[in-house]
């Protein structure tokens, strides 16, 4: 749109310096998915409820749909692609696969990042604590039981 406001941003995404000029209204998740091609982060509701768009911004899980790309200026962002490549999710990923803690897989990247944050904050959570921590991430396929099992199993490996 010719009259549309744009914002210059510079940020690090998965370790890579990104300098771009983005529409002021562009959401961060759309920026990551459609400008940078990082399609591992998903869009489920666009109003901050479902958690499918979870990413890590300056070390904490956030919702990519509730932030604008402009707000990422100066930020350090990690998406599922790098979190997976780095190996830091390996125990969780293995447990999710072995336990069938995913079906369609659409919620899974967000679920894994939230689970990893939980285990970083709380090395040995009980089932109720796992359930509480994951309650901002909807899964429509599994019914959650297997996800709780998988996080419990991964926590057991870590401790």
């Amino acid at each position: 749109m010719s009259g549309e406001a744009h914002v210059d941003i510079a940020c690090r995404v998965n370790g890579e310096e990104i300098v771009d000029r983005v529409p002021a209204r562009l959401s961060l998740v759309d920026f990551l998915r459609h400008r940078l091609g990082l399609t591992g982060t998903h869009v489920g509701c666009e109003h901050g409820v479902c958690g499918a768009c979870t990413i890590v911004l300056d070390g904490r899980c956030v919702r990519g749909c509730l932030l604008l790309a402009a707000q990422a200026d100066g930020a350090e962002i990690e998406t599922i692609e790098e979190a997976s490549r780095s190996g830091r999710l390996d125990a969780l990923k293995d447990a999710f696969v072995a336990r069938a803690a995913l079906q369609c897989g659409f919620c899974t990247p967000g679920m894994l990042l939230t689970s990893a944050e939980l285990l970083a904050d709380m090395p040995a959570p009980d089932r109720a604590e796992i359930r509480a921590a994951l309650s901002g991430n909807y899964c429509r396929c599994t019914g959650y039981h297997a996800i709780v099992d998988a996080v419990e199993a991964a926590a057991g490996l870590k401790t």
Partner: protein
Amino acid sequence: MGADGAFRLLGRPAPRTEAARLVAGGGAYTDDLDHPRQLHAAFLRSPHAHAMIAALDAGAARTMPGVAAVLTWDDLSGVVQPMETRHGAFPGLVSPLQYPLANGRVAYQGEPVALVLAASRAAAEDALEAIDVAYEPLPAAASAEAALDPGAPRAHPALPDNLCWAGEIAGGDVDGAFRDAALVVEETFRFTRHTGVTLEPRGLLAAFEPAAGTLDVRISHQQPHQLQTYLARLFRLPMTRVRVLTPDVGGGFGIKMHIHADEVAACAAAILLGRPVKFIADRLEAMAADVHAREHIVKARMAVDARGLITAFDVEDRHGLGAYSVYPRSSTMETVSAVRTIGAPYGMSAYRARMTAVFQNKSLTGQYRSVGHPIACTVTEVLVERAARARGEDVLSFRARNYTPVAALPLTNPAGVRLMDLSHAACLERLEALMDLPRLRQELADGRAAGRLLGLGFAAFVELTASGSEAYGMGDVAVAAMDTVTLALEPDGSVKGEASVSEIGQGIATTLARVVAEGIGLPAEQVRIFTGDTRSAPHGGGAWSSRGAAIGAEAAHGAARRLRAAILEAAAVLAQTVPDTLDIIDGAVVDASGQARFTLEELVQTALFRGYEFPEGRLPQLAVSHQYGRPQDRAIPTNGIQASLIEIDPGTGLVTCLNHWVVEDCGRLLNPLMVDEQIRGGVVQGIGEALFEACRYDADGQLLTGTLADYLLPMAGEMPDIAIAHVETPYSGSVLGAKGAGEAGTCAAAAAVLNAVNDALAPFGASIAETPVTPVMVLNALAQQAAA
């Protein structure tokens, strides 16, 4: 299968092959795909439930930056026909034309009116705001209950009334059974609409190649072949020029087995403009215009004789199906499914159900997980527990006496349902052990003595799975109930397969690969099955009716046995022996002494690259195809029983589900890991149905639940652990003996939860017969008692 007939792979738990890619963020869903020069679609949707469109001015919108086109029905009508839902099994079905974009009138809020194609979705949405539509609102038919009342607003003014279809199923002497009954229990049940809420919304990427005349549609969908068939009809294209390809699908649950108006309009735009068109529904569009499900008002009564035997059911179902009967399968399948398994676990001598499906100015309803069965199960099981209570009897003892015994099977019950291979008594026995019922009952008594509002409810069920060709074929609807699997040996000795079943996350491709590996004699990892591309996969049913294991796996098994025979035939030629002396073990052809003669890699390379080694031109056929459609039984019945333990907070009226148990008999378990997780996921959708999920409209047909803050989905924190056990009674009519499993959790979970709520309310003399059970209903029920 080993020489002793025992399975090596089947029956063992196996994770989904694609899972490793999905956990790494490597999923490729529809919105992850792009075509060069693609345009983004945004729909102008009706804000009114019912209105005439007096004028539509898109002039300003067309001039906006990035906008390539603004289309209305007049633009589309040259390339596509309106949808007309026909189903010959529903005589008298009234089915007005449904237009991909509104043709002068809108009949539900969210109906697509105009379509903007622009360089970005944002630009397209900007242009929507510049389209000027003059609506002339009409009275809206919102209430299903009042839909046939004299003077009720009509959903379609050209029709005489709101009746879409009415029918009756009856068998036995119903009036006599009620006349002679010692006990009659009755209730009017209300089931609020809800919907599937696939976490990945519907979406597609359509491309038309004008020179070749080919339409290529990448779409999040459950039935690529059905969609290919109907797109070809709507666009008058030969089927060989329509390719439907389903990438990773982010949940289906039935929502993605239909053909939605916006999907047809987006394809039409791609044809008209000669540029690829991407349409991804946002959540508001999904809530408003995805098919909804299960709006029913059921008046039901059950007769019990002096011995405590159920003798008859008499049922009236009113189904509010929305503005149109969904294309192409028809929304009226719902009402039949909602009544036909009422009473199915039990012996009864008489049954009558009268069905009326009515139009409303609301979103369409369609087949959603366990189609109709949760209605039937809830009606039956609430009445069963009420009758047991009225008789002062334990609810499980009452069920046990009334179960159809194994010795009586097979039989056709008075509702016309063919029943075979069921195991009610065994499932009940297994459930009591799984729950440690005596201990649980003691805990319940202790908790109640301490003042807690605890409730325990049960729900036995029969689910009709893996529909046969009668369901749609007899109505002349082009929906395949059969499946095809093709297999070919690759030069490295691995087996590549294409299957017409669809992978939507349920793990069926993994299970079929294991069926093939089992059937040939290969390690599981030597076989890969691909699905979801109509150009390569032969025609078949896709994902519906819990059919993957019961039908798709039979096709895979048949193909595996063909390829095995071909391999042994080829090996016998080379080894100058007869096939009967050879076997395939762990990927190698062995002779009678167990000596390995060829690897599959050696054999296939000889066939593909050195054919001259086969004498007399006897080149082996190492690519095979097998089609399987069940020749008997309209559906394969499964059975089981669920139980739920709930607690009511008397201060807030909130119901918490503390524990849930399932014992299920889906015949032979091909992959227990996938089955159990299908059941757990289905149970949670059922708990959502019982306690949370509702598409609510006001009296004028305005949707009140357009966001996930308004439409409540079950979250991890409020869901219980779900214990599962199985009884395995193989289906007697197939080789593998598998039955449907994917919808069983949803079938009975809501009924078990509702019974648990009513168990907790029973001491207060109150009960609820509506879902979802809201805190307000619970508080009102408790207040009634206080007032009394």
